[in-house]
Symmetry: C2
Subunit: 261 residues, 2 copies
DNA sequence: CGCCAACTTGATGGCTGTCAAGTCAGGTGG
DNA sequence: CCACCTGACTTGACAGCCATCAAGTTGGCG
């Protein structure tokens, strides 16, 4: 989280769909023409790296869009691995499961993020992926990916980057949980969200949390009450304002100094 | 750690070199002929997957063996990435570093293990790799690897497995730190070591720790005093015997039940 | 022999988990 | 339209686990 800086060179603005008003569970993104050429995520999505600049390959990668309602799974632990997913709209959490029933949030993903690469290991997923919002995901079939990367060293390197991002993401989480206090973990989490929103052309200081206190706590190795208390404390210290899911960071440097100290 | 089970199908026994009696810092492994064909790790090492069964490629992958003295670095964070390493003898720890000076052990590696793949992400390593023992490592140049995997889909899949192992390893560490007590973390650590020794044809119940209490604590998000106390407690409970670095697990099921409970 | 790193063990305090009560918003059904 | 219910959240009281500080032991090495 502190050491990573992905995709900051290709900042693209995109609309952030709100939680759907009960209904058919379909997100607000226009269906549009098939393929990636017209996608508003072009430049952020990994397919940009795979096909650019040979436009021939555009739209051939993504065979299936899937609309997923809030709470539904895109895949579950043990499901056979067939695709990598790019989030087009909505938010997703991944859950790590242990045999004894233990579970923990292992990541939150926002539009433009890739998830599901954990499954390449043994042909089956090592996580659950659950939609937090009604979400829209692009499935990139593994065999297509393999095929492309066999023919194209640059594509292969992009694939490696996806892997390494996941390695670094989890490694950072290790350090956060292993060495930081509750306040520091929470500040790190907020700054990570801030950076990622900012990289997408959205406000770095004001945003909506799409996940519950419980889910945040799970990611950080804290209980939901502790997360709530830290939020309250940060507010009374004048570093942020929080009301339900709505966050406004008053002082990013202030949060940073909490961590470094 | 609980969900992973690597290389258990290809168990190969090999000698475990002890800490060298002060000297030139060269491990006891016989120099032998160049190449992988005569290596005692054949079957465990990832090169087995890359070349088998076409023996032609044997020995072409590994260009450099490096002997590393205890405490020395094989690579450091930020070093440009050029190779993946297979540990031939000795033990290695990897360290995750944050900009603010924070550091944490992110893994321990034993003979046959691969490390260094984190560097593929951005062309530079995201860890320090430090030898705990005098160690002997095989460097596998990245361009060779890339070349091989472009020509050979099976090799490419092996490469993906290496990545995913690192993802899963860190994810498991997250869950351990996020949900387990000090006793449970320590028991998990011991069982993980036990399983890995066992997969190499060594005793699952009796082995030497190559790392300090401080290093174990760092991996688990605990202080060294806590690790020491847990060891003492497990001993007084009759689950293990420990004297310095020497460990004898009396009851593997007993340790397991501590975690599940 | 002496030094130092690694380790053990004790005493104490603080952070965070646990338990509990209460508020609030949203959704459902009468 | 309102009552009710449920899930999410906040806040308080308290306890327990683990970090911290400290002192002493051991073993390896110069």
């Amino acid at each position: 989280m502190l050491t990573t800086n992905f995709v900051t060179s290709t900042v693209v603005a995109f609309g952030l769909p709100g939680r759907q008003i009960q209904g058919d569970g379909v997100t607000a993104s226009a269906p549009g023409p098939r393929g990636c050429a017209s996608c508003h995520l072009r430049g952020i999505c990994l397919t940009s790296e795979f096909v650019s600049p040979s436009h021939a390959a555009f739209g051939e990668l993504v065979l299936a869009h899937r609309r997923v309602k809030a709470g539904q799974a895109i895949y579950r632990t043990g499901d056979s691995f067939s695709s990598v997913y790019v989030l087009k709209a909505g938010f997703v959490k991944t859950l790590a499961l242990f045999e004894d029933g233990r579970e923990q949030v292992s990541g939150f993903y926002m539009p433009g993020d890739t998830f599901g690469v954990d499954g390449m290991a043994f042909g089956q997923h090592a996580n659950d992926a659950i939609a937090l919002d009604d979400a829209d995901v692009c499935a990139i079939p593994y065999d297509k990916l393999e095929q492309l990367s066999l023919a194209n060293p640059a594509a292969q390197r992009s694939l490696y980057r996806m892997f390494s991002q996941e390695i670094v993401r989890r490694q950072d989480a290790m350090v956060v949980m292993g060495t930081m206090s509750a306040t520091q973990r929470t500040a790190t989490f907020l700054l990570d969200l801030s950076r990622r929103f900012s990289a997408r052309g959205l406000s770095a200081s004001e945003f909506l949390l799409r996940m519950t206190r419980d889910e945040i706590g799970s990611l950080l190795g804290l209980k939901l009450e502790t997360v709530s208390r830290v939020f309250s404390k940060l507010q009374s210290d004048g570093l942020m304002e929080i009301e339900g899911k709505h966050v406004r960071i008053v002082s990013i440097p202030g949060l940073r100094s909490l961590i470094t100290h």
